[in-house]
Amino acid sequence: MLKIRKRDEPWKWGALVIFLGALLFSLGVSALLLAGQGKDALHGLAILWQGSFGSYWALEGALLKAIPLFLCSLGVAVAFRMQIWNIGAEGQFALGAIGATWMALSFPDLPGAVLLPLMFIMAFILGGIWAVIPAVLKLRLRVNEIISTLMLNYIAIQLLDYLVFGVWKDPTSFGFPMSPEFSAGAVIGGIGSSRVHWGLLFSIFAGIGLWALMRFTRVGFELKASGEGARVARYAKIRYGMLVMFVMCLSGGFAGWAGCVETSAVLNRLQPSLMVGYGYTAIVVAWLARLEPLNIAFASFLLAALRVGVENLQLELQIPAAFGAIMEGMILLTVLAGQFFLMYTLERVKRKGE
């Protein structure tokens, strides 16, 4: 018979072992799903691997997709650290894209050195506002932030649709819902001749900045203390309300930056195809990375690579793109279940008479 025993201290390499185990388990289930669709599962996994990591083209694509994922996920993680459940990165991302587009379309003649900072600032402000609204509702009226941030996602997407179907619609787009193409000053260029753009450098700096903020400043300390709960925060004389607003603004601002980077560097215009669910995947990334900035960088790259791999699978075996979501959900669920073993072990207990 097996009995549950609490570990004396947490399992040291447990997190990594569980993560790898979860990855393997999810790959196994995915193989079964492929087989269920009448495909050759091993061949499918090979294509997935090839598409994710197997070529320069794939790695470049993964790096490209990792940029918005990394920014969104950093934002999500900052809020989660305080036990504030910001599920709204998707909407904050959309608002960031809207903010950037607003500036790009308003001042098309400005040079990049002026226009790009304007776009980033506006993206941060709008993304931040979109996250501060639920924060205020939570603090003032105790409105559950999980639901309010989520509902604001749906509203943001409709707002984006409204804009590209209406006031910002490109008159020359033959009726397609998209804004006019950005002027040269509003576009973040590629690094050298690669598809990867300077947003990569920006997000690395943003990540280091956030890390330093958490590590070395008073705010970072307060944030950690508040993660233990609002009551602990009050004992530590932390102005909890102000901190929540600040953290949510930061959280939304980072997602907003992701929206800005994607619109400016990848699409060069605002259009609904921008919304591919980075905001939701960011939640998976943040949790897999145990909310640590450096881990987030790795996890974003990994899940971005997975997305590229699934695209490859989609092309070669006509597998629906939703395959990626299944894998993400599976990995996260398995990791959650596995975390049990960080604190507990199962022991064989001899029954009487054995």
Partner: protein
Amino acid sequence: MTEFLIPLFAATVQSGTPILYATLGEMMTEKGGVLNLGVEGIMSVAALAAFFVSMSTGSPWLGFLAGGVAGTLMATLHGFVCITCLGNQVVSGLALTILGVGLTNFLGVPYVGQSAPGFTPFDFPLLSSIPYLGDIFFKHDMLVYISFVVPFVFWFFFRRTSLGLHVTATGEMPAAAAAVGLKPVALRYFAVMAGGFLIGLGGAYLSLAYTHLWTNGLSGGRGWIAVALVIFAFWRPGRAVAGAYLFGGVMAFQLRLQAMGTHLPSSLLLMLPYALTVLVLILSAARGRRTDAPAALGTNIEPEG
């Protein structure tokens, strides 16, 4: 005016029905102390399961049941992660939604645009001839009529049966429940699975009665609305009915306005249900009745040893 209002109210009841099932399901789960944010994913999977079984067996009733069973299975997964493995309830629910919506979009591809035998409206004997009320409430399909009974059963279960009281105890204070000899872990599994069954019925309604056609994204945020409505309803079935029909009303109204070709852009109309959800939460919070939530909601039961 009645030519506009009566059909609108009838449509309200119809579009409120899946939300009602899902809200009661989530309420059942939360009564046992478990927060399940996977409602959206569970509804999607259940809708597909119901559609598939109804299409392949030709029996919408089997389809309806399959929706419930699929809901139970999905919810059990959440139960396993949170109750047995002590995983974070919020994150597990989110993961379940990601997984469920993904699975649905993945497995549903071959069925897009296909139809399955579903439930059709009929006039309920006698009751449908009541003026006005008959037109609003008693000219629907069988699943709507069943949904009229479920809140009463729900109420009876929690107020008059010992199992119901035990589930409530687990949601309020699992330690105390264990002390008097109840099995909180088993009771939580029961609440999660029974809740999943009801949520699954809500999903089944979408593919078997709301439309008879399979399309992607059938649940369209209804699962999340259900989660919000549980808060709005203060964990009481009567108010869940009111909330579900309020949302059904807004959805029906919004569709009607679009069909009438108003000058309002459709995206602004589509925002309505989501904006209303936030508003409803603000209103219910303003009344300050948070103490109605099960006290142990969201906290896991630590094993001994």
